[in-house]
C-alpha cells in the first residue's frame, strides 16, 4: 500500500491501522503489561523506539538485503535494537526494567515490528518508513496507555501509582489478571471500532453528498 502523504501515514498508525485495536497485533505484551499505566506506557515507548530504528535501518538496507534472507536479516536488526534498549533500561530505568521483566526481550517477536518491517519498511523509502514506525509505535503506546489506566484504576484504584480512589473502593481484582485483561481489551476494541465505524460512515456520507452536489 503506497500512501501518498506523510501526514496520512502519520495518522494511520494511530487510527485506521492502530496495531492493538484494528490490526490486533502485539497481543502478548498488551495483556501482560497493561496492569498499570506506567508499565504500559514504558513498554509502548520502548517498542516505539525499536520500531523507529528498525524501520529506518531496514528501509536503508532494503535494496541490499537479498529477498531470500530478508527474515533473518530483519530479526538480526530488530534483536540488536531490542538488546540496546534492554541494556539502557537496565542501567538508567531500573524500576521499569524490573516491572516489565521478561517482556522487554520479547519485544523482538512483537508482531507489530516484524509486520511493519515486512510490509512497509522493506518497500518504502526512508522518510515514510520512519514516520510509519513512529506512528505505529505511538498508536500502540496510546492503546496500552488506555488499557493500562482502565485496568489500574478499576483493579487497584490507582493511576500512575497515585491512589485516586480511596479505601471505600473495593477494587475489582480480576481486572488485574489475565482474564480481566482479555475482557478490557475486548470491550475497548469494540468501543474503538464502533466509534471508528460511525465516524468513517459519517465521513463517507459527507463525501457522497458533496460529490452529488458537485455533479449536479
Amino acid at each position: 500500500m503506497q500512501h501518498k502523504k506523510l501526514s496520512q501515514i502519520a495518522v494511520n498508525g494511530l487510527l485506521n491501522e492502530n496495531p492493538t485495536f484494528r490490526l490486533v497485533l502485539g497481543m502478548c505484551p498488551t495483556l501482560a503489561v497493561t496492569t498499570s499505566l506506567i508499565n504500559g506506557v514504558g513498554m509502548g515507548l520502548a517498542t516505539t523506539f525499536v520500531l523507529f530504528c528498525s524501520n529506518l535501518l531496514i528501509s536503508l538496507l532494503k535494496n541490499i538485503i537479498p529477498d531470500k534472507v530478508r527474515i533473518p536479516a530483519f530479526i538480526l536488526v530488530i534483536a540488536t535494537f531490542v538488546t540496546i534498549v534492554e541494556m539502557v533500561m537496565n542501567k538508567y530505568m531500573e524500576g521499569l526494567y524490573q516491572a516489565l521483566g521478561l517482556y522487554i526481550p520479547l519485544i523482538v517477536v512483537n508482531c507489530i515490528i516484524f509486520a511493519r518491517a515486512e510490509s512497509f519498511a522493506s518497500v518504502n523509502p526512508v522518510l515514510p518508513s520512519m514516520v510509519d514506525g513512529l506512528s505505529m509505535g505511538l498508536g500502540f503506546t496510546a492503546a496500552l496507555a488506555v488499557l493500562g489506566s482502565i485496568r489500574e484504576l478499576l483493579a487497584y484504584g490507582k493511576l500512575g501509582g497515585i491512589v485516586l480512589l480511596g479505601e471505600w473502593f473495593p477494587g475489582i481484582a480480576m481486572l488485574g489478571t489475565a482474564p480481566g485483561g482479555f475482557l478490557t481489551l475486548g470491550l475497548c476494541m469494540a468501543l474503538f471500532n464502533y466509534v471508528y465505524g460511525r465516524v468513517t460512515e459519517a465521513r463517507a456520507h459527507k463525501k457522497q453528498a458533496k460529490a452529488k452536489e458537485e455533479n449536479v
Binding site: P66, L76, V77, A79, T80, T83, I84, M87, E94
Partner: protein, 182 residues
C-alpha cells in the same frame, strides 16, 4: 549455476555484514551501559532501605559464600541492625533471595529479593503474616525448621509450600553466615 552461487555468496556476505555491525554496536552499548560496582551497591542499598530504613548503612567484610549476596550493618533507635542478603534453594522457580535484618540476635524484618516464584500464588509466603513467624526468635541456638515444633518451628503457607521452603532455606543460610561472621 554461477548466478545461484553468486546469490548465495551475496546472502552470506550481507548477513555477515549486518551481524558484524550489530556486534560492534552491541559491544559499544554494552560498555556504555555496564553496571559499575557503584551502581550495584547503590541499588542494593536502595532495596534495603525500601524494606527497612536504617541509618549509617555500611557494607561489611565477610567470608565468601555462594549463598550470600551481601552483608551490611546499619542502625536504628534500638541499636545496630545487621543485614544479610541470602539465597535459598528449593523454590518453585529455583533460588529465592531474601533480605534478613537481624538485631540483638533476633530477626526483626524480612524482605524478598529476586526470585522466580509464581506471582500471585507465592505471595502468601512473601507476606508479613508469614514473616511474623520468624520474628523475635533467638537465632544463635537453632535454625528454623519447616513444620517443626516450638519457637523454631515454622508452618509453611498452604499453596506456597515450595516458596516457603526456599524462604526458610534462605533465612537459615543468613543465620548461619551471621553466626560465623558477626
Amino acid at each position: 549455476m554461477p548466478k545461484v552461487k553468486n546469490e548465495m555468496v551475496r546472502c552470506v556476505v550481507v548477513l555477515s555484514a549486518i551481524a558484524l555491525i550489530a556486534g560492534v554496536l552491541l559491544g559499544f552499548f554494552s560498555q556504555l551501559t555496564a553496571l559499575t560496582e557503584e551502581d550495584i551497591r547503590l541499588r542494593t542499598e536502595k532495596k534495603i532501605a525500601a524494606i527497612y530504613s536504617l541509618s549509617n548503612l555500611t557494607e561489611l567484610e565477610g567470608a565468601e559464600d555462594d549463598n550470600i549476596g551481601g552483608f551490611y550493618k546499619g542502625s536504628n533507635e534500638s541499636g545496630d541492625v545487621y543485614v544479610v542478603i541470602a539465597t535459598g534453594a528449593g523454590g518453585f522457580g529455583g533460588k529465592v533471595q531474601m533480605y534478613v535484618f537481624i538485631q540483638n540476635d533476633q530477626i526483626v524484618r524480612l524482605g524478598a529479593g529476586s526470585h522466580g516464584e509464581t506471582p500471585g500464588t507465592s505471595d502468601k509466603a512473601f507476606s508479613g503474616t508469614h514473616y511474623q513467624k520468624y520474628y523475635g526468635v533467638n537465632i544463635l541456638e537453632n535454625s528454623f525448621a519447616l513444620g517443626g515444633e516450638g519457637e523454631n518451628g515454622v508452618d509453611a503457607m498452604t499453596g506456597a509450600t515450595y516458596t516457603s521452603t526456599a524462604v526458610n532455606n534462605a533465612v537459615n543460610n543468613a543465620i548461619a553466615y551471621y553466626r560465623a561472621n558477626r
